[in-house]
Symmetry: D3
Subunit: 249 residues, 6 copies
């Protein structure tokens, strides 16, 4: 049986703060190391601290700082599966995307895309914490540049609405923008748990584009296992962009 | 396919604020028009801002203002059924019942009844936002005046307690008062989800009067579908007074 | 001595909700009447519900709704001076500026200017509740169009910073924009209580343009009475645009 | 020099919980003993947990419980004057006035008066924690029964308004009621810090009855010392009913 | 049928505050009587107001005061089963364990044990409100002194971790300490709903000691009824120490 | 006149995050750089995240994280004096003192002292953010080791109480401990704004030891300028340990 001291040493090997109390130290995502050198990173945790594309209820700009503060409570091992992610990949907090043009959606989207192009070039798999959902479009401009990705999208909304409120870069349109740029492949893409009160604006485009859609009430009818199987069938072996929308209204 | 502009025009036809952002404009119930002219109204949304009949945990007097503030988030269409209520009826916010005698239960009940008599005369179907549950009795004095109504009542409490705390007009007694005045027909009435900690005071009256009662634990046993069927069977085609109690203790 | 009933009747003459309890009724600014007909209005209370120009700590978009909710506590008479504003002017809540382009600063500024041009044409004196301070520029484009106004500006910041964050329409620049457009007369203008942490960006412009500036520490030195006299001396009899900034940092 | 142990023993003599940590034990006013036997009490701390007479912003019914919870932080000695109240009087928490008729102002006022008559008979000086200000009238019916008291009243409001909202027992009228019943002597009474937005209803009565009134702006003009002297001059050696109103609007 | 008055009299017999409104009176657990004389008590409700053994997120020291404040909302009868606990046992609030050494885990544990030894001697069944889970060990030193008890433990954590953070008396170790002292019998003990992120530290000891463990995911697989049966089978007729951990991380 | 771009470049020279929006990036004290290499640091900002010595109202352990989150709002220049601290010293966030023995006051004090000894050896001037006031003693064991320091202490409490609650390392005793160890020189030390409700325990020691004490009421009598002069006179040119206590009760 491994001694307690040996366990602690092993955890410290995953990241020097991972065995620390959550109230001690500068907060990073899941207490991982904050690194500026991207050489030894497999999975990069990245904050995208903007809600400039949000139509109402602002505050998502504080998302990365809030997730850093709260994720200190999550320990290094999954309590049921006993999986230790840090044994499977080198994981680090890369900080936030530096954004200068915080009040100009077009320019800040360019800043996000430029940052993620560097992530792609570094061979890092990004795990992004927003921010509002509009960030998916500039991220996909970097990730889906060479070939379209499959989309697995959990949300109440389709996020395929047209330009409105004076811009096409709003939080209800990222996947329409991405489809129009050929960044995701609709036939390999699926939207799950949709109950969209903007359905008349967004659903016609989503269905015309060929996205598979599972509405919330369908999940209750067919069950979670069938939904998982359908997601696998739609996606196949295409590389996936997985994303969760907040979806409170 | 209808254009986005045509959809927006259609929504504006339902009510001029219905397509507005929730943070813009004076808040009304569901962003409907606030009307003073009752001529063209089928369903009237009405605030009854009193908690004078409440025994503890005051604050329900702020209910109408709070529901107006929050209901701005609800859009014009149901996300799953795709029903648009505004295509089925003319719906408006009529404001709050004007109450002068806010500290005198008997007099303020008279003010409520007088207001709802005008609603009945105008042929408007009222949807009332309280306020504490004591308001159901003065409302029923207007709605059930010509013939008794069926009651469908979701709550933890029977609300058929006797006079106590110095008055019979308290929030635990409206349906006892209504039965004694012949305003609701107990044989056509049903109380659902009851788990009443004042059961010794209220249950004997409810059952003696002939109300059908489904306790909370029975719902878990028979299932929601059976409960819905039972409600339909009890009510039949009698016009219904449908009401929800808060029921936290 | 006037009877209580006569007082109540007089108050109701000022506005039908002014004698109502604060928790009853749809909230308007100070419980004044919400009017759509601008014919009989001297002073118009107007919400400008946007924080699109704000650099951080969003939420000012909820300002008008929040002020409406809280101002219901303010009664019709000043408790010390006994002044009744409603005897001196016809005052009404005009609602909020309708804004469609909520995510596009340039377009929403145009919407604000267009609305205030109609206010000017109607001969109404506006009292605006923001919203972030960027709204002063589009408002001044309407109010100062025919001749420059004097500015009396209480704030911690100069709000004369250059374009930054991708736009010149941000909340730190309205008075620089207004000066450059000749909408306010710097020699007749004064900024009071300044303690600006962006001083290196904003103060050089303010002083070069000829604005009188009273810093916070100067108020403590010379006293409030001297400050009031200085404001009067600078402004003279030029019509004034009076504005308060929030200024927490 | 007294030892630390001797100090602790002395404090425990004042009341067994007075040296306890504030988070340990059932909360009483200032951590004094809760007594049911009134024999050995000079000053009785009493909760009057009702806001039935309040016109808006309910919650004062929780006043006694809230003051008990927070007053545990107050220690046994005044940090500047070094006065130890418990060396000057026997002080205890008597609990709350038992009120059955919580929804009937007239009956609950009778319950309060009956309780305070027993307090008077027991020779106890009461220190009451409300509750809304309407409780002063039923308390004065007991305390001022044998001869009128002087009133020293700190508040924004006169609390001499007429009957309104369906009752004369509301929180804006207790001292009008008390004057009419001869329970306080207006020529020996003073109201301090008044800035009453209901001034047109209440001030005429207060001044006609002969109450001395110091408005808020007068305090700033004459200074606190002059106000204290005036209070002493008005009151003379008449026994005083001292009371503080909340006065936020 | 029992009259309402007879019901009220019966309730008052259970405890003089049990029929009172929750906002009136000094708060005790469930509004039971606070007694200092332990002669006539079958079940003693006891606060153990410490979180000195807690590793992070302090505040459990306020647990007893918070439960007293909130439990006033719970009425004397179970709304579904109609059981009245006060007819089955004499139940009282005994106050909090007096703790002097609030900053010294070893000494305060001794204070807790000494208190519970008096509870055992008085023949009282204790129902304890913490406080952090470290209190179970000093309580068990009193309750399990004469023979080991069965443990039924609902929690996310095993609470069988080794000494860490400078002490063995922390909130993650009480049952390891108890097993080592022979206070509970592991073969008669069961831990339910475990999903322990410190599993590598605690699980090996729990399983080696012979505790039966049901992890959270197992409950979903076998169902609640099977879990209840397993608990009964493990415990048999051994006297039980039943405890609930908070378990948020 | 310096251009805006030149100003931004200059700020970035002070620290790469100092010109960033407060919601972007991992929060550090005042947005300074977080450094692990202590070579180029004059002033080190250090978190001491413990409240193990606190007698009640825990939470100070979150102090460093909270100050980091809020201090992002503070800009690089003082708005009134125009002083830029970063032009006078190299300032960096050193992170938090690593504490393993979070539940053992004696051992965690040793961890703090060891850390500050390394700070002293590195020639860094520490600015510490607690944590409860007990941390001053282990810090002073490092800072005052070679010769006693002057103490300038703003607080309501003397913090010279004896051992209590099972330890001498509590938050009310750090300066008694420091005086007994010869770490501060009482004749060169001053306590300001004292209004100490534990005065009978702490004041006799403070005065016997020769500390100068200015009570709160004395400040109002002599004025702030006289207090500042007295502080300077007492301290002279002895190196100072400056500290602020929270002091709410």
């Amino acid at each position: 049986m491994e001694t307690d001291f040996a366990i602690l040493q092993r955890i410290a090997g995953y990241g020097e703060n991972l065995a620390e109390m959550p109230f001690i130290g500068i907060p990073t995502f899941f207490r991982t190391d904050h690194v500026k050198d991207w050489q030894n990173v497999d999975i990069g945790l990245i904050g995208v601290a903007t809600d400039a594309g949000l139509s109402h209820r602002p505050g998502a700009r504080y998302g990365p700082q809030a997730v850093r503060a709260q994720s200190g409570l999550i320990r290094y091992i999954h309590p049921s599966t006993k999986v230790i992610p840090y044994e499977r990949a080198r994981i680090a907090d890369l900080g936030d995307v530096p954004i200068c043009n915080t009040l100009n959606l077009e320019l800040l989207n360019n800043e996000i895309t430029a940052y993620y192009q560097r992530i792609v070039e570094a061979g890092i798999v990004p795990l992004s914490v927003g921010g509002d959902h509009s960030i998916s479009y500039p991220i996909l401009r970097a990730l889906g540049k060479n070939r379209p990705l499959a989309l697995v999208h959990f949300d109440s909304h389709h996020d395929t609405a047209p330009a409105m409120k004076g811009t096409k870069f709003h939080h209800g349109a990222p996947f329409r923008n991405a489809i129009e740029d050929g960044l995701i492949d609709p036939r390999r893409s699926i939207q799950v748990a949709i109950r969209d009160p903007y359905t008349e604006f967004a659903a016609p485009y989503a269905r015309a584009a060929g996205l598979t859609v599972i509405e919330m009430h369908e999940i209750e009818e067919v069950g979670v296992t069938a939904v998982i199987e359908k997601i696998r069938r739609v996606v196949g072996d295409t590389p996936v962009y997985l994303t969760f929308g907040r979806g409170l209204d």
